[in-house]
């Protein structure tokens, strides 16, 4: 039984290695409105600073080069004066450069904080170690819960209300915007807007304990029509089991500890400690961005969460192989 579990998780790791890779979490691969302007600022500042460093290095190398010829060591007023002029000039240049930087960042900061009209509001809860999401619409029927995967329409401002419930986390999707901490007892906000459709990865950026390394989320920017379809699906209750295996899966889910922590809308499972699983099969990843969602990864994760993500709050629930198969089939069917 244990061997089976271990084998499952290592097979999964191998599968993961073969998975997609790319700069989908990089400040230099910007697709969000504010990330693009930040990228320009970063490139400009880095370029100026590199130039400054090179000038200093040229001066240093020249100084070392000069020293090869032996000259009298005693300071002489004329040379001292020339050195004073050179040093003063360099200091004045320093002052000018950093003043420019200060004004530039002030302007850029103002641009960041002036957000346009908010058209979509999402409540983002940072939790140890996953992201709880609540889409808030104009009326109560349009609100829905999901986890770890944010869908947004391209080209629209999306306001994220960041709510801390346990420790400090930091919401950061580098391709879309700079980070913003999630602080308990405080309400922080961040507005993001994607310029292009795509999948952007984000990760908690403030150390939040044992599984800080595995607290990722995906932001999926898609055309308005696709977003609307997705949101409509999310508002619905979970799909009913269609065959015998998934029906057994649902029964097992409800009978075992699973239902005490997870909600599946449309069933009696209404726990709130763990992520909402109503449409878990339709999400791209499970366990806060750890694995691609497949029946196999769901089974591995359910079988032994503490080996895959040690210290997370999901216990290892003893299930027979048949039960495990049924539960994973059921979860995978929750598109």
């Amino acid at each position: 039984m244990i061997r089976l579990r271990r084998a499952c998780s290592s097979a999964l790791l191998a599968a993961q290695l073969a998975g997609c890779s790319g700069n989908w979490q990089s400040a230099l691969d910007a697709s969000g409105t504010s990330a693009i302007s930040l990228k320009h600022l970063i490139i400009l500042i880095v370029a100026v600073c590199s130039l400054v460093w090179m000038l200093v290095m040229v001066a240093l190398i020249a100084a070392l080069w000069r020293s090869r010829d032996a000259r009298p060591a005693s300071p002489e007023p004329g040379r001292e004066r020339r050195l004073t002029v050179a040093v003063t000039g360099a200091v004045v240049a320093t002052v000018l450069i950093i003043s420019t930087f200060t004004i530039m960042s002030f302007v850029a900061t103002r641009a960041l904080s002036v957000a346009g009209r908010d058209e979509l509001t999402i409540r983002v809860r940072g939790l140890q170690w996953w992201w709880g999401l609540e889409y808030i619409g104009p009326d109560p029927t349009s609100r829905f819960e999901t986890a770890n995967e944010i869908h947004i329409p391209v080209g629209r401002n999306v306001r994220l209300k960041l709510e801390g419930l346990d420790v400090i986390h930091s919401f950061w999707v580098p391709s879309l915007a700079g980070k913003q901490d999630i602080v308990p007892g405080r309400s922080n906000e961040l507005t993001i807007r994607a310029e292009h459709a795509g999948i952007y990865r984000g990760q908690c950026a403030e150390f939040c304990g044992m599984q800080h390394a595995h607290m990722a989320l995906l932001v999926i920017a898609e055309p308005q029509a696709d977003y609307d379809t997705w949101a409509a699906t999310q508002r619905q209750a979970a799909a009913r089991p269609t065959d015998e295996e998934t029906a057994t899966g649902l029964q097992t889910f409800l009978a075992k500890p699973c239902a005490a922590c997870h909600t599946i809308r449309g069933t009696s499972a209404a726990g709130t400690t763990g992520p909402d699983l109503t449409h878990v099969g339709g999400r791209r990843t499970i366990a806060a961005g750890l694995f691609e969602t497949t029946r196999g990864s769901l089974a591995a994760w359910t079988a032994d969460p503490q080996t895959i993500k040690p210290g997370n709050n999901m216990p290892m629930v003893p299930l027979t192989p048949d039960e495990l198969r049924a539960v994973s089939a059921y979860l995978a069917s929750l598109k």
């Binding site: 244990i2 500890p257 005490a260 922590c261 040690p310 210290g311 709050n313 216990p315 290892m316 629930v317």
Partner: protein
């Protein structure tokens, strides 16, 4: 020599109190589930493996603090309040309806008790039930254990478990003293 032994003892105690056992091997979890209860389901003996592990659910800080989280997550508060009781009995009045032993508390959580205590056996794993039992025992303890959890980041309703709230509240009165209970805890 004595110093070395003392140091070793301290080292072992330290390791045990702070170690974080994150994953309980299934055979051990199964073994931990096999408690021997007296026929009246009060008192009894935990399985041998419990002692082999060094009574981890009573002395280990991580287990106790996990127990505290489970107390909140599994809705214990809705009946037992912060330990003072509500529709269910309190843990702070020095009175344990089924005895203060870990096995009894474990059995109460796992199997439920008459008059409203539901069985959590199907909702929690064995590991979690032991963690919760350890925490519940700590709430009512008259000695503030060093490993016990401290206050939560929320409104304070009573001193935290490491301050031995049962002792403090008992000394304060006026909570009803159970007739069977002696003059001092």
């Amino acid at each position: 020599m004595a110093g070395v032994l003392l140091g070793l003892a301290a080292a072992l105690a330290g390791c045990q109190r702070e170690e974080r056992q994150l994953r309980l091997d299934p055979p051990i979890a199964d073994a931990l589930d096999k408690i021997a209860l007296m026929p009246n389901r009060i008192g009894g003996a935990p399985p041998d493996v419990y002692f082999v592990l060094g009574r981890p659910y009573e002395v280990n800080a991580y287990n106790l603090s996990q127990g505290k989280r489970l107390y909140a997550w599994f809705g214990c508060k809705s009946c037992h309040g912060d330990g003072r009781g509500g529709s269910g009995p309190g843990f702070l009045d020095g009175w344990w309806s089924y005895g203060p032993e870990m096995v009894s508390i474990f059995a109460s959580i796992r199997d439920g008790r008459p008059h409203g205590m539901p069985a959590f056996g199907g909702k929690m794993t064995t590991d979690q039930i032991w963690q919760l039992a350890g925490y519940v025992q700590t709430i009512g303890s008259y000695e503030g254990k060093t490993a016990a959890p401290s206050r939560n980041d929320e409104k304070q309703t009573r001193p935290a478990e490491n301050r031995a709230p049962a002792k403090l509240l008992f000394d304060e009165g006026p909570s009803p003293v159970h007739p069977d209970q002696g003059p001092t805890p």
